[in-house]
């Protein structure tokens, strides 16, 4: 997995999914949209990369080995240094998280799989703009 040092200028988005086809699809589309992309294949790698590189946004799968997307997002929220990074969570249909649960994390949005990448990219764009305005 190539994780180049994010260059200044373009926003950096970190993707975490244990399924290579999702990393490939989302990664390709984000790069095409002009973002710098970092990838992780489990929650722990994702957390380590987030602490090191401070991406502008994280797109993560829910079910992953080592550390789930949910646990990873709780860990991000609990750490001062990373609490402000917004997270988009991808879930398999049928996994519903309560608002109380979500409140303990940095998750700002939940998207059901399967998803269309353009829709996802638009949401990523929207969230990054919203974050900058805030």
């Amino acid at each position: 997995m190539d994780n180049p040092n994010p260059t200044s200028g373009a926003d950096t988005v970190l993707i975490a999914d244990d399924e290579p086809h999702i990393r490939h699809l989302v990664g390709t589309k984000l790069k095409m949209a002009g973002y710098t992309v970092l990838v992780a294949s489990n929650g722990q790698d994702c957390l380590d990369l987030a602490r090191e590189h401070h991406p502008e946004l994280i797109v993560t799968d829910y079910q992953m080995p080592v550390l789930s997307g949910f646990e990873m997002s709780q860990a991000l929220a609990a750490d001062h240094d990373t609490a402000s990074i917004p997270v988009i969570l991808l879930t398999a249909r049928g996994h519903k998280l309560s608002d109380d649960d979500l409140a303990t994390t940095s998750i700002r949005m939940v998207i059901d799989k399967p998803f269309g990448p353009t829709d996802l990219i638009n949401r990523v764009k929207g969230m990054l703009e919203q974050n900058k305005a805030a």
């Binding site: 399924e19 290579p20 086809h21 999702i22 490939h24 699809l25 989302v26 390709t28 589309k29 095409m32 398999a92 249909r93 049928g94 799989k113 399967p114 998803f115 269309g116 990448p117 353009t118 829709d119």
Partner: protein, 516 residues
């Protein structure tokens, strides 16, 4: 291979297999570098025979284990008691001990003579132990996908069709069609690149579904280039117009999933031209194509193994049959002639090329079960006693047992098991009558009897052609299917006569070899 970490393994599949070959296999052994397991076949007679020798055999294997593992061929444990080994990639060393073959038996006697049989058994066993792996994979995947997607039906239908790997191209075509319909692509393709060593029947195949935006020649060329030039690690799966040649050619975003064999890219699943409001590939598309590429890899592997195995197995059995025929100069070339006569009759009654080929194979191996009949009985001059005839009558069943483990060879079994049945139900071994006897059995029955009457036997001279044909006609409705006798009598036998002359000419040499 001989690591001490392996547990001795004689699993259920092995036991089932060995019991099925009780006529040929005395026991199966497995060795993990430390302990030796010896499993007798379930046959009570065999068990009694083995019991006093079990320790002795185990001892013999222990002494020869290194030699066995290294040999790559059967070696004899003691005169008349050969053993073979089967090296399974993951498992321990596993081998057979063949039924002891004292001199008066009709079976080949030395390890060398048994080699083809043992090899065939080994292939057969390995296949049995590995079969259905692909099905388990399908079920795992369906389970996994079932949580999020509604494609289970498609996956199950693919999984089911994986069972019949005899027609891999048609399967690839079906799968290709399903991809397009399920996911709403404008077109889809399954492409395997050329490889001379590929026995799968899929080499250099391209099947497509839907309206292709460019002509086949261009598409074949472009996909060949794409597949041969990409490396798996940096495989680009989403090709974009303006960036990738294939996407430009197809004028749309193209998804390409590599099909792998042993980490080599051997082909790809390709789709594009999504219809509907959203014209781009979704995560559902990429997931499904990913899964399907995995199946196609398994399909390719199964198809290749199946073809190799089937050819090798049939080749081995042919060799055994020929050796059996050659033991007796009166039957030298019998199987080849029966195969030829069978195909001629099959063609005459209008069977298609595929069926004719099955008849040919049936004919070549129809008497392979004679390997389990004592030579003294097989080659006896003069009348057989009832007891001796009972022994002869076992050969269709023995042959059937040897063959029945091979997947997709069922169609050849009929000829082997039923070639001694009679239209009036007085044949053996099942005593079926009329059309209840499978057609291949009825066809080979005529061919077999014709050849027997036309050859000189130890107890009588060959009958003249005219008399033989008259006899066949007379037996219509009693021994033979009456609808087969006329077409048979009208065959042109000139090629048959040439075959007989050739077999007589070369029967001296093999007879001497075997006497030695």
């Amino acid at each position: 291979m001989q690591g001490s970490l392996h547990k001795p393994l004689i699993d259920q599949a092995t036991q089932t297999f060995v019991n099925r070959c009780a006529e040929l296999v005395l026991a199966v052994w497995s060795y993990d570098g430390r302990s030796l397991l010896l499993q007798e076949t379930d046959d009570t007679q065999t068990r009694e025979h083995l019991a006093p020798h079990a320790d002795q055999l185990a001892q013999a294997i222990r002494i020869k284990i290194d030699e066995l593992v290294k040999a790559g061929r059967p070696i004899e444990l003691a005169p008349g008691q050969p053993a073979a080994w089967v090296a399974d990639e993951q498992g321990p060393t596993l081998g057979f001990i063949m039924t002891p073959v004292p001199n008066e038996r009709g079976a080949p006697q030395t390890a060398e003579q048994l080699a083809p049989v043992i090899k065939a058994l080994a292939w057969n066993l390995n296949d049995l132990r590995k079969s259905d792996n692909s099905l388990f994979a399908v079920e795992d995947l369906a389970e996994q996908l079932g949580k999020s997607y509604e494609n289970i039906t498609l996956l199950y239908s693919i999984g089911r069709s994986m069972r019949s790997i005899a027609e891999p191209v048609r399967l690839a075509q079906d799968i290709c069609e399903q991809i397009r319909l399920t996911q709403g692509f404008g077109w889809s393709a399954v492409r395997f690149i050329a490889n001379d060593m590929d026995a799968s029947g899929l080499s250099d195949t391209c099947v497509t579904s839907g309206e292709m935006p460019c002509d086949d020649v261009l598409f074949n060329k472009a996909t060949h280039q794409l597949i041969t030039e990409q490396h798996d690690k940096h495989w680009r799966k989403l090709l974009q117009v303006g960036q990738d040649e294939l996407a430009d050619l197809m004028r749309c975003e193209v998804i390409v999933e590599p099909i792998l064999h042993d980490e080599h890219v051997i082909g790809a699943v390709i789709a594009g031209g999504k219809t509907g409001p959203d014209s781009e590939a979704t995560s559902g598309d990429t997931q499904l194509l990913d899964a399907i590429a995995g199946f196609l890899g398994a399909l390719h592997e199964n198809a290749a193994r199946f073809t190799e195995q089937k050819n090798m197995f049939i080749g081995s059995l042919e060799a055994v049959s020929t050796a059996l025929d050659a033991k007796d100069r009166y039957t030298h070339g019998h199987s080849e002639r029966v195969a030829w006569l069978g195909t001629q009759l099959a063609e005459a009654v209008g069977l298609d090329a595929e069926e004719v080929e099955r008849i040919r194979i049936s004919g070549l191996v129809h008497d392979v079960g004679k390997i389990g009949v004592p030579e003294a009985v097989l080659c006896k001059a003069g009348r057989l006693t009832d007891d001796e005839f009972d022994q002869i009558k076992k050969h269709p069943r023995i042959g059937y047992n040897i063959l029945k483990g091979i997947p997709n060879i069922d169609d050849v079994l009929d000829g082997v098991l039923y070639h001694h049945e009679r239209w009036d139900g007085r044949g053996y071994p099942t005593r079926l009558a009329g059309e209840a006897i499978p057609l291949y059995g009825r066809i080979l029955a005529v061919a077999d009897t014709f050849d027997a009457m036309s050859s000189t036997r130890s107890y009588r001279q060959a009958m003249p052609r005219e008399k033989v044909l008259k006899e066949i006609a007379n037996c219509a409705g009693s021994q033979f299917d009456p609808s087969l006798t006329d077409p048979f009598i009208n065959l042109d036998f000139s090629a048959y006569d040439a075959m007989v002359a050739r077999h007589q000419g070369d029967s001296e040499q093999p007879a001497k070899d075997l006497a030695a």
